[in-house]
C-alpha cells in the first residue's frame, strides 16, 4: 500500500515535469499576469478599437543578450508605463535569423506579434537561405540603433597608425583579419568586397563572438579585425586597439574622435548596421498608430535613453519610412557586392 502511494507520488511528479518540458525551448518569455489569460480566451478582437487586450510578443530572431535583444527587452520594460498590456520578447533563433522572421510572417496581422529586424535579413540573407518573406510583407515601425562596423588594428603589434598604412602594407603583403560573421554574413560579404576593391589579399579568421575578435586584435594574433563600438573601447584606452576606418555610410563620431568612412578612400564598401522594429504590413493602420504612440513615449523616456547611453548603444530614433529607405539602399549595394564576390 505504502509502495503504491509512493509510486503514485512519483508518477504525479513525473507528469508535472513533462508539463515543464513542454514549455521549454529557445523561447524566453516572461510569465503572463493572471488577468490576461482570461481576456485572451474571450476571442481575438474583431475590431482594432479594443487593441491591445492581450500580451504583445516581440520576436527576436537572434539569441539572448545581443544588441537587438537587449534593447527590445528594455523597451518592454519601459513600455509597462505606457501600454495597457504586457509586452514580452521571445527569441526564435536559427538559420541566420530567418526562422524568427518566418514566424513573424506566419503570425496573424493583428498587431500582437512584432519582430526585431535588420537590413541584411532583407538585403543579404535571402540570397543564401530560402525565405518566404520580402520587404513588402513588413512595415517598419521604428529604428532601434545604428551599428557602425569598424576596421580595428593594434598599433603596438602591427605598427599601423592609420588606414593608409594598411593600404600601403597590403599592396605587397597578405593580411589576416578576424571577424565574428561567417560566410554569407554581412561583415563577411562587405569586408571581402572591400578587400577586393582595395586590391588587397586578405584572409578571414572567423571567430565565435565579437569579444573574441577584439581579443585577437589586442593580443596581436591578427593584423586587423572587424568590430563595432563599444566592444573595443577598453582596449583603445590601453592603446592595444585603434579604429582606423568604418564601413558606415558616413564618418562616425566615437569617444576617441572621428572615424572616416570608406568613401574617403574611394572604396565601394558601405554597410550601415542597424536594428529596427517591424510588423506585418497588412496590420490595420489604427493598431500601427497605437504602437507608434507607445514607442514615442518609450523613446522619450529617460529610463530608456539613459540605459542605451550607458550600454554604449547608438539610439536610432528613425521613423518607419526612413528605415524603409535605409534598407532599400542597402539592398542595392549588397547586390553589387555579392555579384563582385561571385565573379571572383
Amino acid at each position: 500500500m505504502k509502495m503504491k502511494k509512493r509510486f503514485a507520488f512519483l508518477l504525479a511528479l513525473a507528469l508535472m515535469l513533462t508539463a515543464l518540458t513542454a514549455c521549454g525551448g529557445k523561447t524566453a518569455s516572461s510569465t503572463v499576469p493572471e488577468n490576461t489569460s482570461g481576456s485572451s480566451q474571450a476571442e481575438e478582437p474583431s475590431a482594432s478599437s479594443d487593441y491591445p487586450n492581450k500580451t504583445v510578443t516581440i520576436i527576436c530572431p537572434w539569441g539572448v543578450g545581443g544588441g537587438a535583444d537587449t534593447i527590445a527587452r528594455k523597451i518592454t520594460q519601459v513600455a509597462e508605463k505606457y501600454f495597457d498590456q504586457p509586452i514580452i520578447v521571445e527569441n526564435h533563433t536559427g538559420a541566420s535569423g530567418t526562422i524568427g522572421m518566418g514566424d513573424a510572417f506566419d503570425a496573424a496581422a493583428d498587431g500582437y506579434t512584432l519582430v526585431t529586424a535588420n537590413g541584411p535579413l532583407f538585403s543579404l540573407t535571402p540570397k543564401y537561405v530560402d525565405v518566404q518573406y520580402t520587404l513588402d510583407d513588413f512595415t517598419m515601425l521604428r529604428g532601434m540603433r545604428t551599428v557602425s562596423l569598424m576596421v580595428v588594428t593594434n598599433p603596438k603589434t602591427t605598427g599601423f597608425q592609420s588606414f593608409d598604412d594598411i593600404l600601403e602594407y597590403g599592396k605587397s603583403h597578405k593580411l589576416t583579419y578576424a571577424t565574428s560573421s561567417g560566410p554569407g554574413g554581412d561583415q563577411y560579404v562587405v569586408s571581402s568586397a572591400a578587400f577586393i576593391s582595395m586590391g588587397i589579399e586578405a584572409e578571414p579568421v572567423v571567430l565565435g563572438s565579437e569579444a573574441e575578435v577584439v581579443n585577437a586584435i589586442a593580443s596581436g594574433q591578427v593584423d586587423l579585425g572587424l568590430c563595432t563600438p563599444p566592444s573595443y573601447y577598453a582596449f583603445q584606452e590601453e592603446g592595444t586597439a585603434l579604429a582606423v576606418a568604418t564601413f558606415y555610410p558616413e564618418d562616425v563620431e566615437t569617444k576617441f574622435g572621428t572615424v572616416k568612412c570608406m568613401e574617403n578612400w574611394g572604396i565601394d564598401a558601405i554597410f550601415g548596421g542597424m536594428d529596427c522594429l517591424a510588423i506585418r504590413s497588412d496590420t490595420p493602420q489604427e493598431i500601427i498608430d497605437k504602437l507608434n504612440a507607445m514607442l514615442d513615449e518609450v523613446y522619450a523616456d529617460p529610463d530608456f535613453t539613459d540605459y542605451l547611453k550607458e550600454m554604449g548603444y547608438n539610439l536610432w530614433d528613425a521613423k518607419g519610412d526612413e528605415v524603409q529607405t535605409f534598407i532599400e539602399n542597402q539592398m542595392d549595394s549588397m547586390e553589387r557586392y555579392v555579384e563582385l564576390l561571385e565573379s571572383k
Partner: protein
C-alpha cells in the same frame, strides 16, 4: 581587494541571494536531470524573472541553475544510461554499470560529492586568481583551442572499451556527424544532399537524445515485465553509502579532475564535456583500478563529475574579464549581465568590482547549498529505478521528444533524433560503444574550425602549434596521453596471460 570581498560577502549573504540560489539549484537539478533539457534552456526560461532583481540575486538564480544543471545531468546518466546534458556523457561509462550492480545510491552520492568538490575548487580559483588566469587566457587563440580539443580527441583510445578499432571508428562517425551542414570557414554546405534543413547542421541535443536515450529504449524493446529477471529475483537497491575509504581512494582523482576542469573551463569555446572526458582518461591511467574502469568503477564517476562541475567557476573568468563565453550557458549569462547594465569585458572589474566579488562569493554558496540539497534528495531519486520500466520508458520518450522539438521548434530534428536512435541501436548491436561517437560530435567542429583558423593565421605552416608556449604544452600532453596508452597496451601484450598484479 579585501574591501571588495567584504562588500561582496554582504550582498551575497543576503536572504534574497540565498533564496534565489535555492530556487535556481532546485530547478537546475530537475532540468539537468531531464534528458532533452539542458541548463541553457533553464537559464533562458528564468532570464525574464531577473529583470526586476538586483544584479547579485539575479546572477545567483542563474548560476544556481547552471551548477545544479551540470550536476543534475549525472542523475539520469547513472540511473538510466542517458546523460542529462552533454557534460555528463562520461559519467554513463561507470555510473550506469554501478546501477546495474545495485549500487545506484553509492554512485549518486559520489557524483554529488565530486560535483561539490570540483565546484568549490573552481569557485575558489575564480575568486582568487581570476585576473591572473585572464591574462593567460587572453593570449589563447585558435592554436591553443585546437591543441586542447585535439587532446580531447586523443582520449578516444581509453574510452572505447575493449575494442580500440571500433572506438576510433565511432569517433570518426561522430566527427562526420559534426561535419554535416555549413562549413564555418568557407561557407560550403557539406553532406546536406540538397536538403535545406540539413544545411543548418545536426543539433547536439538531437544526437544526444538519439544516441543514448532512444537507442537504450530500442535495445530494451523486447522487455517483458512478466519475465524481468531483476523483478523476479527481487534485487534490492543496496542502501550502501560511500565510505571514507572510497573518498580517500577518489581524492586524487578529484584534485586532478578539478584542475583539468578549471583549465578547460577557462579556455573559451570548450566546456564541461571535454573536461569530463579528459579527466576520466587521466583517472583511468593513474588509478590502481584502471582495468575496472568502464565496469562500474567509482573513481570513474568521481573523475568525470568533479571535472564538469569544476568548469562552472572557471568559465566565469573569461566571461567576466574578457567578455568571452566559455560555453553555451555562459553565452546566455553574458546576456544576463547586459540586462543588468553591466558589459562583460575588461572594464567590468574596474566599474563593478563589488558586484563581481559578490557573484564569485555567491558561487561558493551555490556549491555548498548544492551539497545540502543533494544529500536530502539523493535517497529520493535513487528510487527512480524502482519505477516499473514499462512506465519509465514511456516517460523518457515523451521528455526526449518534447525536449528536442522545443529546442528549435522543429519536427525535423525529432525525426533526426529518431534516425540517430535507430543507427545507434544498430551500432550497439555491432559492438560499438556510443561514447566515442558523442565525443566526436562535440569536438569535431571545434577541432576543424580551430585547425583551419590556425592555418590562416600561420599562412599554412604547422609550426604555429609548437612555437606558442601553451599550444606546445597542450600538444605535448596529448602526445604523452596517447603514448602512455600504447605503452600500457604493449606492456600488457608482452605480459600475455600473466595474472594481473595488484
Amino acid at each position: 581587494m579585501l574591501d571588495y570581498i567584504l562588500a561582496g560577502l554582504e550582498m551575497a549573504a543576503s536572504w534574497q541571494s540565498i533564496l534565489m540560489i535555492a530556487l535556481g539549484l532546485l530547478s537546475g537539478i530537475v532540468i539537468g536531470a531531464i534528458p532533452g533539457m539542458t541548463a541553457d534552456i533553464g537559464i533562458i526560461l528564468c532570464l525574464p524573472l531577473t529583470y526586476a532583481m538586483d544584479p547579485i540575486p539575479a546572477m545567483m538564480l542563474l548560476l544556481g541553475i547552471y551548477c545544479g544543471g551540470t550536476y543534475g545531468g549525472s542523475i539520469t546518466a547513472i540511473l538510466i544510461n542517458t546523460p542529462g546534458t552533454p557534460a555528463n556523457a562520461a559519467t554513463t561509462l561507470d555510473g550506469y554499470p554501478m546501477t546495474l550492480q545495485g549500487k545506484s545510491l553509492k554512485a549518486l552520492q559520489m557524483a554529488l560529492y565530486s560535483s561539490f568538490f570540483g565546484g568549490i575548487v573552481s569557485a575558489l580559483i575564480c575568486l582568487f586568481a581570476a585576473p591572473a588566469i585572464a591574462r593567460v587566457a587572453q593570449t589563447f587563440g585558435p592554436p591553443e583551442y585546437f591543441c586542447i580539443t585535439f587532446f580531447g580527441l586523443s582520449i578516444i583510445a581509453s574510452i572505447s572499451g575493449d575494442n580500440i578499432i571500433k572506438g576510433i571508428m565511432g569517433g570518426v562517425i561522430g566527427i562526420f556527424i559534426a561535419l554535416i551542414g555549413q562549413d564555418s570557414v568557407s561557407g560550403v554546405i557539406r553532406f546536406a544532399f540538397g536538403n535545406r534543413k540539413l544545411a543548418g547542421g545536426i543539433p547536439l541535443l538531437a544526437v544526444l537524445v538519439g544516441l543514448f536515450a532512444l537507442a537504450e529504449l530500442l535495445s530494451r524493446s523486447n522487455y517483458d515485465p512478466k519475465n524481468d529477471p531483476a523483478r523476479k529475483a527481487k534485487i534490492k537497491i543496496s542502501q550502501e553509502r560511500v565510505t571514507w575509504k572510497e573518498i580517500k581512494q577518489c581524492f586524487r582523482a578529484w584534485v586532478v579532475s578539478s584542475v583539468i576542469g578549471t583549465v578547460v573551463g577557462a579556455t573559451p569555446g570548450t566546456g564541461g564535456g571535454i573536461a569530463a572526458f579528459i579527466s576520466y582518461d587521466q583517472a583511468k591511467k593513474m588509478s590502481k583500478h584502471g582495468d575496472n574502469f568502464g565496469k562500474g568503477e567509482i573513481e570513474g564517476v568521481a573523475a568525470s563529475e568533479a571535472a564538469n562541475n569544476a568548469t562552472t567557476g572557471s568559465t566565469l573568468i573569461p566571461l567576466m574579464t574578457l567578455g568571452i563565453p566559455g560555453d553555451g550557458c555562459t553565452a546566455i549569462l553574458i546576456g544576463a549581465f547586459m540586462l543588468q547594465g553591466m558589459i562583460p569585458g575588461p572594464a567590468l572589474f574596474r566599474d563593478h568590482p563589488g558586484t563581481l566579488y559578490g557573484i564569485m562569493l555567491g558561487l561558493l554558496f551555490v556549491n555548498v547549498l548544492m551539497l545540502v540539497f543533494g544529500l536530502a534528495l539523493t535517497p529520493l531519486y535513487s528510487n527512480i529505478s524502482r519505477i516499473p520500466y514499462e512506465l519509465m520508458s514511456a516517460l523518457i520518450i515523451v521528455y526526449c521528444i518534447a525536449g528536442v522539438y522545443s529546442n528549435e521548434g522543429s519536427t525535423f530534428h525529432v525525426l533526426l533524433a529518431a534516425c540517430i536512435g535507430v543507427a545507434s541501436f544498430l551500432l550497439r548491436k555491432l559492438g560499438f560503444s556510443v561514447v566515442p561517437i558523442i565525443l566526436g560530435v562535440v569536438l569535431g567542429d571545434l577541432v576543424e574550425t580551430n585547425f583551419r583558423n590556425s592555418m590562416i593565421l600561420s599562412g599554412g605552416s604547422l609550426s604555429i602549434f609548437v612555437t606558442r608556449p601553451f599550444s606546445l604544452l597542450f600538444l605535448l600532453l596529448a602526445l604523452v596521453s596517447i603514448g602512455s596508452f600504447f605503452y600500457k597496451s604493449i606492456k600488457k601484450h608482452v605480459k600475455g596471460t600473466a595474472p594481473e598484479q595488484k
